[in-house]
């Protein structure tokens, strides 16, 4: 590779703009500029110099900040588009997603679905976009941080004139016996925590180089953050499931691979009342009920050994616990939160076998809607058969039918057997309606009462990526602080042929640098540098184009 040997003797990598050691401008084009681009110290950014193989081409593509910015913009636009219609995961729909979006939103819904916007965070192209941002971060950082580090490490005290005069802050003046003044200034700079390097009467003062690594530390944080998010896709790292648990029911906890089971003893919803003190009185009067506590009293079980789907494993009691809001049940990195509830769902219905004319009753039957029996014997020759049960009754094509398996609108076909009607009478009983399909009956099933049950809605969470994500976040912020609260300042004082040149550079906050320079130079004969950029702007105002 063509190395470039500078006149100061330093050998630079191919593509270097400013000599790493003395800062001499090595590229003709750069010489035409009045001010240097100091962002990466004029280093040979690898991506800009090699463009041979496929690997280099991919590398170069991702090393471009422009590409990185576009990736972020496109991701932002995609994320914004993803909010136009609801995400599938936030819907509880009973039809397929494809149908749902098409029916509800027409042609746009269809396109939305086809392009994967309905489940944006898991659509392949969205993941690729975010991943590309990650790749861009890694490559951009490597491509800049490594050469920058090398250049800052190799920099020399004595700088080439072409470097000094193209700094934003610069001045040059003829001066005899400058050494005494320079010594004074050096001492002052030391007090201001500058690191001083001297060489043949030339001085370089530097502080806050640390600040230059801020963006790269920041990127490391971001990459860790993305890595943490990637881990969420790895089985076992992240669980976020919902479960409904009826009072009295024992069910497997979703996401635990049949390792944990939960029994719900009671769901309790407590309201504030007068006993809680005067302070609540007004609020209670105004709003009605104010909830004091949502609570599911549960027992946690652990399964003994593995079990197949459908198989009921042997359960071992682990503990009893009252799950309250913000007081989840915790076990083995899992946390079960109280997140929702349903009150007073019908669980059982009671009917009385009644003689329609006399009103005489021959006993009650209580039907457990989750497990109705087929036959209820009332003794003395009276019995009731449940011929069919429709938990969510509707008439479909002239026939009784159940819409769902949930007892939202229970209906029964009864056969009532009595001593005087040993063949039985058939009656169809739904809520607030009775049909006697086979003619007028002597008896009826008179509705008596319902029993109700509560459901607890629980959220099951497990997130092993939180640690990595928070470390990533902290490093990110450290990087921001590093780059924001420190500035990399350098001041060069060079003497040659009876002239003193003073130049200065900072990566930000030029104003304070100027103040600092003015303060250290005060009372000496050394010339005070001026801001060449101001000149440029003034020149611009006059319509003269000085900078290419």
């Amino acid at each position: 590779m063509n190395k470039i040997k500078c006149e100061c003797g330093h050998v630079n990598p191919h593509g270097t703009v400013l000599c790493e050691a003395c800062g001499k401008v090595l590229v003709e084009e750069e010489k035409k500029k009045k001010l240097l681009d100091m962002r990466y110290e004029g280093t040979a950014r690898r991506s800009q110099t090699y463009n041979r193989s496929l690997v280099d081409k991919i590398w170069n593509f991702f090393s471009s900040v422009k590409v990185g910015v576009w990736l972020i913009v496109v991701t932002l636009i995609a994320s914004a588009l993803g909010t136009i219609f609801p995400q599938e995961m936030n819907l509880s729909i009973s039809v397929s997603a494809e149908e749902y979006y098409q029916d509800r939103y027409g042609i746009f819904g269809q396109i939305y679905y086809l392009l994967g916007f309905h489940d944006l965070y898991r659509s392949w192209w969205y993941i690729l976009l975010v991943a590309s941002i990650g790749v861009s971060l890694v490559i951009c950082s490597l491509d800049r941080a490594v050469p920058l580090y090398k250049a800052l490490k190799k920099q020399r005290v004595t700088r080439h004139n072409s470097f000094l005069e193209r700094q934003r802050f610069f001045t040059r003046a003829a001066m005899e016996n400058a050494n005494q003044d320079i010594e004074l200034v050096t001492a002052r700079l030391k007090k201001k925590h500058y690191k001083i390097l001297e060489e043949n009467g030339n001085v370089m003062a530097e502080k806050g180089r640390f600040s230059r690594w801020g963006p790269y530390v920041n990127h490391i944080g971001l990459i860790l953050f993305l890595f943490g998010i990637m881990l969420r896709f790895v089985p076992g790292f992240y669980v976020n499931e919902q479960m409904w648990l009826k009072e009295g029911e024992t069910k497997v906890i979703p996401g635990t691979d049949k390792q944990y089971y939960l029994a719900n003893h009671a769901f309790v919803l407590e309201l504030y009342d007068e006993e809680d003190g005067e302070v609540y009185k007004n609020a209670i009067e105004e709003k009605g009920g104010i909830v004091k506590n949502y609570q599911s009293s549960v027992t946690l079980y652990k399964a003994v050994g593995e079990s197949l789907p459908g198989e009921k494993p042997e359960l071992q009691e682990v503990k009893n616990y009252d799950i309250r809001v913000n007081q989840p049940l915790k076990m083995d990195h899992y946390a079960v939160y109280q997140s929702s509830y349903r009150l007073n769902e019908i669980s059982a219905m009671t009917f009385a076998l009644t003689n329609k004319e006399t009103g005489e009753q021959f006993g009650n039957i209580t039907i457990d809607l989750a497990n109705p029996k087929g036959n209820y014997d009332l003794g003395n020759g009276y019995s009731v058969q449940v011929l069919s049960y429709f938990p969510d009754f509707e008439i479909l094509d002239g026939e009784p039918h159940t819409k769902t398996p949930n007892p939202n609108n229970p209906a029964f076909a009864f056969k009532m057997i009595t001593p005087d009607k040993p063949e039985g009478e058939t009656s169809f009983a739904a809520i607030q309606q009775t049909i006697e399909p086979l003619g007028e009956n002597t008896y009826k099933m008179a509705f008596q009462s319902v029993e109700t049950v509560n459901y607890s809605g629980l959220t099951v969470r497990k997130d092993l990526t939180l640690g990595i994500i928070s470390v990533g976040g902290i490093i990110f912020l450290l990087g921001v602080a590093q780059g924001s609260f420190w500035q990399h300042r350098r001041i060069w004082i060079n003497q040659s042929k009876g002239q003193v040149a003073i130049a200065a550079h900072t990566n930000k906050n030029w104003f304070t640098l100027m103040k600092e320079i003015q303060a250290v130079l005060a009372g000496t004969n050394l010339p005070i540098p001026f801001d060449q950029q101001l000149d440029k702007e003034e020149a611009k105002q006059q319509g003269v184009n000085t900078v290419g």
Binding site: Y50, S96, A131, V138, F227, M230, F233, E311, Y389
Partner: protein
């Protein structure tokens, strides 16, 4: 810097990044698939009981074709296809094709009424906690898996079948 070194370094970094991305995509897609037993896969084993408490284990059917049907009494197409399945089951039973009808967890009474109404002769098991439905990724009903004598899933059918289809499918998994 040596050109070869640079090439190697860049390649290594790019390969590492590519592996991470490919894994993420893979994990993301298999997260979906994991729930759905796919054609060509080994059919997930399960144990379910019928209304009389008799246990049925899928792996006990090795060497036989299994016509695994998921159904519910509230599912209209299920009502239509059940008699066809029963007809064909009677013919193919002797040829080594078994039908397992997995109810999606309704009440015994509803299942019994339904089975009696249509005179179903094949075993009906109840997936009370929906674990088997989850393992097979059932959605929507009706859903049928054809499992060959080696225990592999040959075909996954959603939607209503007519009698001719049922017959063809049973032919497919005949040992």
């Amino acid at each position: 810097m040596n050109k070869k070194n640079r090439q190697i370094r860049r390649t290594v970094i790019l390969v590492l990044l590519a592996v991470a991305i490919i894994y993420t995509l893979y994990a993301n897609f298999t997260k979906d698939d994991r729930k759905v037993a796919a054609v060509g896969d080994k059919a997930p084993d399960f144990v379910l009981t019928d209304l009389d408490g008799k246990e049925y284990k899928l792996s006990d059917y090795k060497g036989k074709g299994v016509f695994l049907n998921f159904w519910g009494t509230y599912c209209k197409p299920c009502k239509k296809e059940m008699p066809y399945v029963d007809n064909q089951y009677k013919k193919y039973k002797e040829q080594g094709v078994e039908v397992l009808a997995v109810n999606v967890g309704e009440t015994d009474l509803a299942i019994e009424t339904f089975a009696n109404q249509y005179g179903l002769s094949f075993p009906i098991v109840v997936d009370e906690d929906a674990e088997v439905q989850e393992a097979y990724g059932i959605y929507p009903l009706p859903a049928t898996f054809l499992i060959n004598p080696d225990g592999k899933i040959v075909k996954y059918i959603t939607g209503e079948m007519n009698e001719q289809m049922v017959q063809q499918y049973m032919e497919m998994i005949k040992p």
